[in-house]
C-alpha cells in the first residue's frame, strides 16, 4: 500500500480510444478484455472507454460494455476483468462512486465487474496431491500456498460499498471464471519451465518433436483452417462453436491494436493440421485463448507442441505469466472437469483465485428482474 499523501477526489469521464490504448500500454498488464479492441470483438454490446482523473492526470481506465435490456432503454454495464484502478486504495469509494455516477447517467440499471485482484494461489504440486486425496474435493478445501490478505480485504470494502459477489458454482459463473491456471514465467529460462513440467508433458513435447510436428504462426487467411479443426473439437467436446466471422473480427480488431496482440498457431504433422490455437498478449501477460485439435493423429502430441511454442514465444516477448485461463474448482477425480485441471497442472504452474465478479444494482427493480432472468436461463 502506498503511503503517498492522500490525493484529491477523482472524476470519471469517457476517454478516446487512443487515450485508453496509451494508458493500457503504460501499464505492466491489464486483461485483454479491458483493451479498446475488445469492444469491437463484442459487437453485440456497446463499448465505452472511460478514465479516472486525479485533476488532469489519467490514473485509471476501463472498458465498459453496455448490454440493453429487452424492450427497455436501460443497460447492464459490464467491466469484464476490470476496471484497471488502484485496488490497494483503502478508500475504494473514491474510485467506485464516480464510476457508478457516470454509469447511472448512461442509463445503466446495474454494474457488473471482475476486479483483477488475485486472492490466493496453489502450486502444481499441492493441487496434484489434493487431486489424489479423496477427501479434498474443491480447491477451497486445499491450503493455499500463497494468500494475499490485502486482496482479501478488498472484498470487505466492496461489500461495505453495497457491492455483492455473484455466487459461483464450482467457481464457474455466467461471466469470467474465478479460478484460473497460470504458468509463472518471470525470471525463468526455457530449461526452468521444462524442468517444472511433469514427466508426461516433457515426454509429449519430445515425442512431438521426434514425430516431426511443426508449429508455425498463421495469418488471417489461416483462420479458416483453424476454424475447421475448432468445429471438429466442438463436436467432440460438446460445446457450441463460434462462427468463423467471430474469429475474423477478433483478428481484425486485435491485430490492429498491436501487431502481435493475437497470434494464430498451427501445428502440422506431415502436412496435416493436428492442432491450432490462438494466443493473446497484453504487456507482460499472455493468454492461451482458443484451442483445437483433430481427433486423428493424437499420438503425435500436437497440443503439447503447440502449447510449448506459445510458452516460449510468451517468454521471448517478456511475459511474466502464461495464462491458461479458467478451471473449475473441483478436484473430484470423478468430475469430468478434473481432466482439464490435470492437463494444466502438468505444466507445473499454479491455480489462481480472483476476487470473483461483483454486482452493484443501480435500479433495484430492474436489477432484480435481470438477475432472475439470468438464473432462469
Amino acid at each position: 500500500m502506498t503511503s503517498a499523501p492522500r490525493p484529491g477526489p477523482l472524476s470519471v469521464r469517457p476517454i478516446s480510444t487512443p487515450e485508453h490504448l496509451d494508458f493500457v500500454r503504460s501499464r505492466p498488464s491489464v486483461s485483454f478484455l479491458q483493451t479498446p479492441a475488445w469492444a469491437q470483438v463484442k459487437n453485440e454490446w456497446r463499448g465505452e472507454s472511460i478514465g479516472w482523473f486525479d485533476g488532469g492526470t489519467l490514473v485509471g481506465a476501463a472498458l465498459v460494455l453496455y448490454r440493453q435490456l429487452p424492450k427497455v432503454k436501460r443497460y447492464l454495464a459490464y467491466l469484464p476483468e476490470g476496471p484497471d484502478i488502484d485496488w490497494t486504495d483503502p478508500d475504494l469509494g473514491r474510485w467506485l462512486t464516480p464510476l457508478a455516477n457516470h454509469l447511472k447517467q448512461q442509463r445503466a440499471f446495474g454494474i457488473r465487474m471482475g476486479p483483477p485482484v488475485v486472492t490466493r494461489r496453489w502450486h502444481a504440486a499441492t493441487i496434484k496431491q489434493a487431486i489424489a486425496d479423496p477427501v479434498l474435493t474443491t480447491l477451497s478445501d486445499v491450503p493455499a500456498d500463497v494468500r494475499d490478505d490485502e486482496a482479501l480485504t478488498v472484498a470487505t470494502r466492496l461489500t461495505s460499498l453495497g457491492w455483492k459477489e455473484i455466487p459461483t458454482e464450482n467457481g464457474f459463473s455466467a461471466g469470467q471464471p474465478k479460478f484460473n491456471f497460470q504458468l509463472p514465467l518471470a525470471d525463468r529460462s526455457e530449461d526452468d519451465v521444462l524442468a517444472g513440467m511433469n514427466q508426461q508433458w516433457r515426454r509429449n513435447i519430445k515425442k512431438a518433436a521426434k514425430a516431426g510436428v511443426e508449429v508455425v504462426r498463421g495469418d488471417r487467411a489461416d483462420l479458416a483452417e483453424f476454424h475447421t479443426v475448432y468445429a471438429e473439437t466442438a463436436e467432440r467436446d460438446h460445446f457450441t462453436p463460434r462462427p468463423l466471422s467471430y474469429f475474423e473480427r477478433m483478428w481484425d480488431a486485435m491485430t490492429a491494436e498491436e501487431a502481435d496482440r493475437l497470434v494464430l498457431y498451427l501445428a502440422r504433422h506431415e502436412g496435416d493440421l493436428v492442432a491450432a490455437t490462438t494466443m493473446v498478449r497484453v504487456g507482460e501477460h499472455a493468454w492461451y485463448s482458443y484451442g483445437a485439435s483433430t481427433t486423428s493423429k493424437r499420438d503425435v502430441r500436437g497440443s503439447n507442441a503447440i502449447q510449448w511454442q506459445m510458452m516460449r514465444d510468451a517468454m521471448a516477448a517478456g511475459a511474466t505469466a502464461y495464462d491458461m485461463r479458467g478451471i473449475t474448482e473441483t478436484l473430484d477425480p470423478d468430475d469430468s472437469h478434473v481432466g482439464l485441471i490435470q492437463f494444466k497442472v502438468g505444466t507445473g504452474g499454479e491455480a489462481v483465485e480472483y476476487l470473483g465478479e461483483w454486482d452493484l444494482p443501480l435500479n433495484r427493480a430492474l436489477h432484480l428482474g435481470f438477475t432472475q432472468y439470468m438464473k432462469r436461463r
Binding site: R120, T126, D133, V135, P143, A144
Partner: protein
C-alpha cells in the same frame, strides 16, 4: 474437611490403564482444577502410566506439570505475545495459532522453541485458517514444529472434519506427520488411522480418561445439622418460608466447593423447560434441585447454597439422616473443589 471425594484407587487406575492401552498415542489433558481430582495427582498418575507427554491448559499450569511429570508438557492455549507467565524449557511445547504470533515467538528469547500449529476448526476458537498455513510455515524461522493440532466440537460426528484437516495437513507446506486431535471417539480414531496411515494420530483426552469410570469415584458430604421445620416457617439468610413440614438439613459443601455453580445448560431446549414447569412443585415455587441425594432422591435447596455449606429441605415423608452421616453428591467435576481426596 467434610466435602470429600473417595476414589476406589484400584478400580480407577484399572480404568486409566484400559483407556491408555486402547488409545495409542494418547496425550492426557491435565488442566484447570484437574477435573476435580487435582492437577498434581493427575500428573503423577500420568507419570506412572509411562506416558511421554501431557497437555496443560495454560502457562500458569506449566510449572506444576514440569515438576510432577517427567516428560514433555504441551500448552493448549495458543501462545500470545502479551502473556507474562510463559516459561522456556526444552520440555515445553507451545501451541501457535496466528501468523503474527509465530513470527513474534520466533523472534523472541527462545527462537528454537518447540511448537504445535493449530488449525481453526468449526469450534471457531483458536487457530489458523487453512489458507494461512503457508504463511505460518514461512514465519517459523528456527522454531521446531512438533505437530499439527485441531480442537473439534463435542457435538459428535467429527470424523469428516478431522479427516478434512488431516488431508489439508498432508497437502500443506507444514512439515509434520504428527496430528493431535481432541474429541474423536475411539471408533472415529480407528477409522481416521486406517484412512491416514501416514499420520501419527495422537488423541488429546481429558474427561474420558480421568472421569472415564465414574463408578470409581464417590463424592460425599457430611450432614452438619438437622432441624425440624413447619410449613410456612421462615429460615436461612433469606428467610424464605418452607413449603411443607419436614426437616432442614445443613450439609457441608457450598459455592467454594463448586456446589450450585452451573455452566449454562448444554441442551436446555424449550421442551425441557416446559417439562419442569409442568411438573410443578418446588421448582415452580422458585426452589432449585440440589445435588445432594438423601433417602434415594435428589433434594431441593431450602435457599441458595452458602459458601461452605448448603441448606436442604427434606419433606417429612422421607427418612432424615443423622448429624455426622455422609450423603452422596452429584458434582460437576470441572467446577468441584473437595476438602479431601481419599485414594483408597
Amino acid at each position: 474437611m467434610t466435602f470429600e471425594l473417595d476414589i476406589d484407587a484400584e478400580r480407577w487406575r484399572r480404568g486409566l490403564r484400559a483407556v491408555v492401552e486402547s488409545t495409542p498415542g494418547i496425550v492426557p489433558v491435565i488442566k484447570g482444577n484437574g477435573y476435580g481430582l487435582g492437577r498434581d495427582l493427575l500428573a503423577s498418575e500420568a507419570k506412572d502410566l509411562g506416558l511421554d507427554v501431557v497437555a496443560v491448559g495454560t502457562y500458569a499450569e506449566v510449572p506444576g506439570a514440569l515438576a510432577a511429570f517427567g516428560g514433555d508438557v504441551m500448552v493448549l492455549t495458543p501462545w500470545r505475545p502479551f502473556f507474562t507467565d510463559v516459561l522456556h524449557d526444552e520440555r515445553i511445547i507451545h501451541t501457535v495459532g496466528r501468523v503474527e504470533d509465530i513470527a513474534a515467538l520466533a523472534a523472541g528469547p527462545d527462537p528454537t522453541a518447540r511448537v504445535l500449529i493449530e488449525g481453526e476448526t468449526s469450534m471457531a476458537r483458536h487457530g489458523l485458517d487453512r489458507h494461512e498455513l503457508a504463511a505460518a510455515v514461512a514465519a517459523l524461522g528456527d522454531l521446531r514444529v512438533e505437530g499439527f493440532a485441531i480442537h473439534l466440537p463435542m457435538a459428535g460426528g467429527n470424523l469428516r472434519e478431522a479427516e478434512n484437516w488431516a488431508a489439508a495437513l498432508e497437502t500443506s507446506q507444514v512439515e509434520t506427520t504428527t496430528f493431535y486431535a481432541s474429541h474423536l471417539t475411539a471408533a472415529e480414531l480407528t477409522i481416521l488411522r486406517e484412512r491416514r496411515p501416514q499420520l501419527d494420530i495422537r488423541p488429546r483426552i481429558g474427561t474420558a480418561l480421568w472421569l472415564g469410570d465414574l463408578g470409581a469415584l464417590a463424592v460425599r458430604a457430611t450432614v452438619l445439622d438437622t432441624h425440624l421445620v413447619a410449613r410456612g416457617e421462615r429460615v436461612g439468610y433469606r428467610q424464605r418460608p418452607m413449603p411443607r413440614d419436614g426437616s432442614l438439613l445443613v450439609i457441608s459443601g457450598g459455592t467454594s466447593n463448586g456446589i450450585g455453580l452451573e455452566a449454562p445448560k448444554a441442551s436446555a431446549g424449550v421442551v425441557q423447560r416446559g417439562k419442569s414447569l409442568a411438573k410443578g412443585g418446588l421448582e415452580a415455587a422458585g426452589f432449585s434441585l440440589s445435588p445432594f441425594t438423601i433417602d434415594g432422591k435428589q433434594r431441593w435447596f431450602a435457599e441458595p447454597p452458602h459458601m461452605q455449606a448448603s441448606m436442604v429441605f427434606l419433606p417429612a415423608s422421607a427418612q432424615a439422616p443423622q448429624v455426622g452421616d455422609r450423603v452422596d453428591v452429584a458434582v460437576r467435576f470441572t467446577t468441584a473443589t473437595f476438602d479431601a481426596i481419599n485414594l483408597a
